[in-house]
């Protein structure tokens, strides 16, 4: 008699460790340094995600798993943190990300006009990246600068009191940057 062995179990319960995209040397060292700051390695999750994103431009499924292994967590737990923050990108983005604030103050001060001008100029919709990979536009909730509304983040710079033309100007500059 042969024992009954489930055949499709493997498919359903595939070991995630086999799908890890290994951390590069820099990521490895930087994350290790972060871990030393906390009593629990899990506390370094956000920093680890930032480190990987800084290196790769975004955080892939394979890197989520690599971080999970490094911090003794499940990939699900890491992904839960990663997807909570809208500045951690779980899909590839352009070299420059323009985050356009769509919360109440900016809405009142002209968000809709900005969005229309920008999408028209770059010929992409919100959430999309230009074909040359230079710019991604993302809507974002309040950036905490309502007194300067309407506001956007262009790369890591905050741009205040935008008008359609000043925003288009910034977008053009971004597109001219080397990829």
């Amino acid at each position: 008699m042969t024992p009954i062995i489930a055949t499709d179990a493997a498919a359903h319960c595939a070991d995630w460790r086999l799908q890890i995209e290994p951390l590069n040397e820099y990521e490895e060292t930087a994350i290790a340094a972060e871990i030393t700051h906390y009593p629990q390695p899990q506390a370094a999750t956000i920093e680890a995600l930032k480190i990987v994103q800084q290196q790769q431009g975004w955080v892939s499924d394979g890197k989520i798993k690599a971080i999970a292994q490094r911090l003794h967590m499940s990939p699900d737990e890491v992904d839960s943190v990663a997807t909570f923050y809208n500045k951690i990108y779980r899909q590839p983005v352009g070299t420059t990300v323009i985050s356009l604030c769509d919360s109440v103050s900016c809405w009142i001060m002209g968000y809709q006009g900005l969005a229309q001008a920008l999408t028209q100029e770059l010929n992409i919709a919100l959430g999309e990246t230009t074909a040359d990979g230079a710019v991604t536009i993302l809507p974002t909730p309040c950036l905490g600068a309502c007194d300067h509304a309407p506001v956007a983040m262009v790369g890591d710079q905050r741009a205040h009191k935008l008008t359609p033309s000043s925003l288009i100007e910034l977008a053009r500059l971004a597109q001219e940057q080397p990829l």
Partner: protein, 925 residues
């Protein structure tokens, strides 16, 4: 209600005064008073988080205050003199608006939703008064994940109450179901598609108030709750006796859900209990008797009565003294008792091997000692320090693992209580206590799923576990000198001692799976020592082998087992016959073949074929646990009754076959007292009366559940709901005229929809329903108070509490295992979803059986020249088993762990044993 006057407070709800328990919150108080107040995020076992805003009520400053302010009932502690209104327009309109927003994205797909008709969201929506959709915008749609064979996922139906993740992560310790995203865009699922790994994942379908997480097995062969014919049942898969509600349609068992018992399973069961029912519908079932007359080479099918007649002839021919019976820890007390009465006590043996037999008498002896108390699962949650020795609970007593997990939070609850945070304030308690857990010391042969909450994990071979337990017991008594123990073990004993020092309510858990009677004894010594140290009764709990191990033990106090029977048969000079009840001799002992050769006749009563039934010359097909009634005695000695869910097969009860047999044998001239008494039983109640006449632990047998004569307003308790449909056409393919509803003379339940759906005794609740409460949340209408006993009292009877100390039966000493040259000690590694015949028939569970392998410590593997992934050959006597090897640093050294797999060449019953182990050399050419 047990509350004493001084912990009651008076509150005013819409002008009327009520007395409620102090320390609780308003929602719980209102529901306890049978008020209807909607809620989503609060769950009686998970506590309050105040996130869904559905339980809003108006709270007033004092009698003068006419305006009041809105508060969430689930977040508001009750206080003396508190005045609230559920009906105030402000609160009721708010609740209505809340639902309206919640429903804005809801797909309204009730007709095709698995939850439809028993949906908490439907019930609450209606209760809130929101009946018209005004929102005209688009709805969000989500991708659904493949979460494996047991749990389905339909994310569009989500109302973001967070119950799923709070159950899955916080309560059950799972780490692969999370909330993803943020704001209005949250998603409850996994990082990627894949099978949920928690052994409690099935509870999601009951915890989720909507149809996001649903029971996939039910969905594959779907029936609405109201169309199910249901009966109260008891899980047959382990010794804990979780209460189940089992539903049937057209002769097929369709689903199993949790049935609340405040002391046993509470609101949750494990996935084996929920999905392990397919055996009853299996096409492998035995439906007919089979007889193989002497000299013939094949069995012929016949009806049960002819089969029994043949057995009666055998019994008459051989003489009663030459007919033996082998009972089963998987069969009910009544079935075992009937067999015992038929063959006589002297000829009755338990379907145990020697080690299991000795363990059985040890367990009974220890649990009836005057200073030892064995707690219920609910009480286990109150322990403030737990030592687990030799049980991988998740695989042998899963629901107990869940209780241990809750107990580990007691330190946190106490810390929070010290600064005035009540236990139900879920989030503040967690923030205040962070990772601090009550001590759990886990001593097992390899890593277990409880390691993440254990303060100390020690991985030892069973013989070292005995040394450890003995040393720790003497250390607790202050008599430990450490001699004879390795330095490492010494250190571990000291560490445990320190962890246990302040415990006020310590508990020791052990069990049958290490197959070591000595360990059972030492666990009791440790419990007694800890009891003395803490100045309280010693708490001790054993996980036993099967659903009715305890019941069989009580019937068979002299602990006679299969090996005794083998010896007796060897010495028999006259031809003999053996009647085997639901046991496969071949998986129990390597001596099965020899035993069968000493028999003239082998009679098997079973629901499924086995190696034993293949050897038998008579096979009597019998009912599954869902088609008959009976009683299991769980690991704490609680006798609990299960009832037949349907009678499509015409009730082939094993107990009834045995009473028929008694009648036939009596007519042929046998006149032993027990046979005559058994022959006089025509109904199940007659048999229960006989059992109770045994006295002792069985004296209150008739209190286990109401007898068949019980009526409410002159009517039986209906198994069908009052709105069951299709009654006239259900079996129209067989006969166009509607058949008469079958009668049930054996229980107070009827195969009918007539009768009252409420006020039932606790043991007779087929499924919960109350007007306006169609989901299982209706349970609050059946409880005396939230989380309290059911209104009809606790079902079942604890048998050991009043039992005098039971002496140790005189049993043969089990020879210790000696290792020959090149041999290694092999023990069993249990696998919840793979260990037995019954779960092998559930395709959902079979798919969740992880890949099997033998496991060894790296050092041991290195000495034997083996590496991870090697194909190895394990040899025990003539048997060989080829399987892959996993090298695992958590396994104790010098120990080989073999997976407990149904139909494996080496089964759990053959272990522990000395085996030889070698790499399978690949042929080179």
């Amino acid at each position: 209600m047990n509350a004493t006057i001084d912990n009651l407070v008076t509150i005013y709800i819409d002008g009327s005064a009520y007395q409620v328990k102090a320390g609780g919150h308003l929602l719980e108080a209102c529901l306890g008073l049978a008020q209807d107040l909607p809620y989503f995020c609060w769950h009686p076992a998970l506590g309050s988080v105040g996130s869904c805003r559905q339980c809003a009520v108006q709270l007033y400053q004092d009698a003068e205050d006419q305006r009041g302010r809105m508060v969430m009932a689930c977040m508001t502690p009750v206080a003396e003199g508190m005045r609230v209104s559920l009906s105030a327009p402000m609160a009721s309109e708010f609740r209505q608006q809340c639902i309206e927003v919640t429903m804005a994205n809801h797909p309204h797909d009730c007709p095709v939703c698995e939850e439809g008709g028993e949906c908490h969201l439907q019930d609450m929506t209606l209760q809130s008064g929101h009946t018209q959709r005004r929102h005209k915008g688009h709805k969000k749609t989500y991708h659904n994940q493949d979460l494996g064979p047991c749990v389905g996922h339909e994310m569009n139906r989500c109302i973001s109450c967070y119950r799923c993740v709070r159950f899955y992560q916080d309560y059950a310790g799972g780490d692969d179901l999370v909330v993803l995203g943020s704001r209005e865009n949250v998603y409850f699922g996994r990082h990627q598609d894949g099978c949920l790994t928690s052994h409690f994942s099935g509870n999601l379908s009951e915890v989720c108030p909507t149809g996001v997480f649903y029971d996939k097995v039910v969905s594959d062969s779907y029936t609405r709750k109201w169309d199910l014919q249901s009966a109260p049942s008891i899980c047959s898969h382990c010794s804990l006796g979780c209460n189940l509600s089992v539903g049937e349609r057209q002769g097929q068992v369709k689903r199993v859900t949790n049935r609340y018992h405040s002391q046993v399973n509470g609101y949750f069961i494990c996935d084996k209990g929920r999905y392990g029912f397919a055996h009853s519908n299996s096409d492998q079932r035995l439906y007919q008797a089979q007889v193989q007359p002497l000299g013939d080479t094949e069995k012929v099918s016949c009806d049960t009565l002819h089969g029994l007649d043949y057995v009666a002839q055998i019994m008459t021919e051989l003489g009663a003294e030459n007919v033996f019976g082998l009972g089963s820890p998987r069969a009910s007390v009544e079935e075992n008792f009937a067999l015992q009465s038929l063959v006589g006590k002297a000829n009755f043996y338990a379907g145990h091997n020697a080690a299991q037999g000795v363990i059985q008498t040890q367990v009974l002896h220890q649990l009836t000692q005057p200073n030892i108390y064995t707690p219920s699962l609910k009480q286990i949650e109150q322990a403030d320090a737990i030592v687990i020795i030799g049980e991988d609970l998740l695989h042998t007593a899963p629901r107990m693992a869940l209780s241990v997990r809750q107990a580990s939070r007691n330190l946190g609850f106490a810390k929070a209580a010290a600064i005035g945070i009540p236990k139900w304030q879920d989030e503040p308690v967690r923030i205040h206590t962070q990772n601090q857990l009550s001590p759990v010391i886990s001593v097992t042969s390899a890593a277990t799923d409880l390691d993440d909450i254990s303060s100390q994990c020690i991985h030892l071979a069973p013989s070292d576990m005995c040394n450890f337990a003995g040393a720790l017991a003497s250390a607790v008594e202050g008599q430990f000198d450490g001699s004879g123990l390795s330095a490492e073990l010494n250190e571990q004993v000291q560490h445990s001692l320190a962890l246990l020092a302040g415990a006020k309510r310590p508990l020791v858990i052990s069990g049958a799976s290490s197959q070591s009677p000595e360990l059972i004894d030492l666990a009791a010594q440790l419990a007694l020592a800890l009891g003395r140290q803490s100045g309280s009764e010693a708490w001790l709990s054993y996980a036993l082998e099967a659903a009715n191990s305890m019941g069989l033990g009580l019937l068979n106090k002299d602990a006679k087992h299969m090996d005794d029977l083998a010896l007796r048969l060897q010495q028999q000079t006259t031809p003999s016959a053996l009647i085997v009840l639901q046991t496969d001799l071949f998986s129990l002992s390597t001596q099965a073949q020899a035993l069968c050769e000493n028999l003239r006749h082998l009679v098997v009563l079973d629901q499924l074929p086995s190696a034993t039934s293949e050897h038998a010359d008579v096979v009597i097909a019998c009912a599954s646990v869902f088609e008959t009634e009976g009683t299991y005695v769980n690991n704490e000695g609680r006798a609990q009754r299960f009832f037949s869910v349907h009678d499509k097969l015409g009730r082939p009860d094993a107990w009834r076959s045995l009473t028929h047999l008694a009648t036939m044998v009596t007519q042929a001239g046998h006149r032993s007292d027990t046979i005559t008494q058994l022959a006089s039983c025509t109904k199940f109640d007659d048999l229960c009366d006989l059992v109770s006449q045994q006295g002792g632990e069985f004296a209150h047998w008739c209190d286990v559940a109401p007898s068949a004569g019980f009526r409410i307003a002159g009517m039986k308790v209906p198994r069908q709901t009052h709105r069951a449909s299709g009654r006239t056409s259900l079996y129209a393919d067989e006969n166009v005229s509607e058949a008469k509803q079958p009668e049930d003379v054996d229980s107070a339940l009827g195969f009918t929809m007539e009768g009252t759906p409420i006020n039932k005794p606790s043991a007779l609740i087929p499924q919960v329903w109350s007007p306006g409460w169609n989901s299982n949340e209706a349970i609050n209408k059946f409880q005396q108070e939230i989380n309290g006993p059911l209104k009809g009292g606790e079902a079942g009877v604890r048998l050991l509490d009043t039992s005098p100390s039971l002496p140790l039966a005189e049993v043969a000493v089990i020879p210790s295992i000696t290792l020959g040259a090149g041999q290694i000690l092999a023990h069993t590694q249990n696998h919840l979803f793979a260990s037995d015949r019954v779960s092998s028939l559930s395709s959902a569970l079979k798919q969740r059986n992880t890949a099997i392998s033998a496991r060894l410590h790296p050092d041991t593997a290195a000495i034997m020249g083996l590496v991870d992934g090697d194909e190895v050959c394990v040899a025990l006597a003539q048997t060989q088993w080829l399987l892959p090897l996993t090298v695992d640093a958590s396994v104790a050294v010098d120990l080989l762990l073999l997976p407990n797999q149904y139909q494996a060449p080496i089964s759990a019953g053959h272990l522990p044993a000395a085996v030889s182990l070698s790499a399978v050399t690949q042929e080179v050419n």
